[in-house]
Symmetry: C2
Subunit: 297 residues, 2 copies
């Protein structure tokens, strides 16, 4: 195994990466200096590559992320929350919702099949039907927990179906583009996984728009299908509540409530194979992980 | 239905949102001016909220994303690619891999169960075993396509198992934290969906680190289990190749190759229920979607 910390000279134009260590020398091939990402419309970003005009159509004109851009992506990832009780009723402007849905549509999909559809639910009547099913499912769920946890469960706020102005159901059409799809030939669930990637794209885009999202899964699928008229061949994947929020919680609410703890990531790592609950190998990586301080600002 | 374009006065501190229209007046509650995200360490971002010190622990100190931060998130989403043929062999520094894995670990998970494990594969021998299974599965897959598409399929580069320096298998432990999980009581696949959200977080974090990721799904699950020693109760969700790249493609390779087209998002929208392949309702939103110009720079 080569040393994972060994630095290589950048062998190609676009390999010049923004170094995480501010004291490190700038890679000499860098075309975007650290911080340049703050000016995404800066002339050099859109400048044509005069040395290879035919490459420009095939490859991204300026693939490098600056450190500021990188940090913004991490900020979205680490401050994203499952929002339930903090929704405001304010309408979401169409242009904002359009950007968020476009982000979902640009998720990876197996064989580029784009198996998703988006049911945008603003009707209060439709949301009330789905909320009624949530109430029934929630009461059933309560009985599944041990007596010791039941009171805690009952008091958790787990959805914002009526408080949020927009609900979105993301579905998966497994028959789209026919029965044989590149990449789904051996792992049949890849289409469903693609639709879940669209959910996560939507969630992070929403966070960057200062919108909260909550995924409601305490529902009976037949009731959801009936409320939305979803055809039998289409699979509902996620029922999402979306809206502006009073505040974003600093930590996941179930963590704050003491329901479960954040697991130490180093204990979830395995190296070159699954040898036990936590491997002895890869100590350097495990130590690097312990040094990461995700800021949930 | 209230007008989705109606602007409301911000009723709470954190509702002051960055307006997408540069000509719009700045919301008067904004604490992060547009562009301030370029300076994530700026003093005001970490400043304590002196008016409500006890709220600070519960809620994010400064929840607003600036326009520059928002655009960085969209850039990651729109320039992310499934990388197959562009990997460089350069090692990934541990601190970079640590950040990317931490991002995956901060995905949403049903009932905060964090069902994932991460098998980090750097051993060339292990990767060679998995690659051999890919070759076998790929040959089988070829026979599934119509004769007209078979030659095209055969010539597509669909994985970078050996060219990338690190492979990561993300798994799902459905038994973690016991049989009853909040939010999985009625939709059993929610744990698997959570693990897929971790995949997408990893993918976007990697893109922000200028790392490419490719999801290899043309594998026999039993062979993958055997090569990695995955226990029967653990489900392998995604086998990912990760590394620096020569270039990022401007568009998905299957789109460039003419295999399938990007579907018009407006044709995948439904309003308040599934009424047909494309609904007549929501014309304003559909028009707003047509105006979005995602830049795959």
């Amino acid at each position: 195994m080569s040393s994972p910390t060994q630095a290589h000279a950048a062998p190609a134009r676009t390999h010049a990466r923004t170094e995480p260590d501010p004291g490190a020398p700038a890679p000499h091939h860098a075309v975007v200096p650290a911080g340049a990402g703050a000016h995404p419309q800066a002339p050099d970003r859109q400048a044509p590559d005069r040395q290879a005009p035919d490459r420009q159509a095939r490859f991204q004109a300026n693939p490098q992320f600056s450190r500021a851009e990188r940090d913004a992506v991490y900020r979205a990832i680490h401050t994203r929350r499952d929002v339930r009780g903090e929704f405001l009723p304010d309408a979401i402007p169409d242009e904002v919702l359009a950007r968020v849905l476009t982000a979902a549509h640009h998720a990876p999909s197996v064989g580029f099949m784009q198996p998703w559809d988006f049911i945008v639910v603003r009707s209060r009547e439709v949301r009330a039907r789905i909320h009624a099913d949530f109430v029934a499912a929630h009461a059933e769920a309560e009985q599944m927990f041990d007596a010791g946890k039941r009171a805690t469960y009952r008091n958790l706020k787990l959805e914002g179906i009526l408080e949020s102005p927009v609900n979105i159901c993301i579905t998966c059409d497994r028959r789209r583009h026919g029965p044989v799809v590149i990449g789904r030939t051996h792992i049949g669930a890849m289409d469903v996984y693609s639709a879940v990637c669209a959910v996560q794209n939507l969630w992070l885009a929403a966070r960057a728009e200062n919108l909260g999202v909550g995924w409601v899964s305490i529902l009976h699928e037949p009731a959801l299908r009936e409320a939305l008229g979803i055809p039998p061949e289409i699979i509902p994947i996620a029922y999402l509540c979306i809206g502006y929020v009073k505040d974003f919680h600093a930590r996941p609410e179930l963590e704050s409530a003491g329901w479960l703890k954040r697991m130490p990531l180093a204990e979830l790592l395995h190296f070159d194979g699954w040898r036990g609950p936590a491997d002895a190998g890869g100590e350097q990586l495990a130590e690097a992980i312990r040094q990461v301080q995700p800021i949930a600002r």
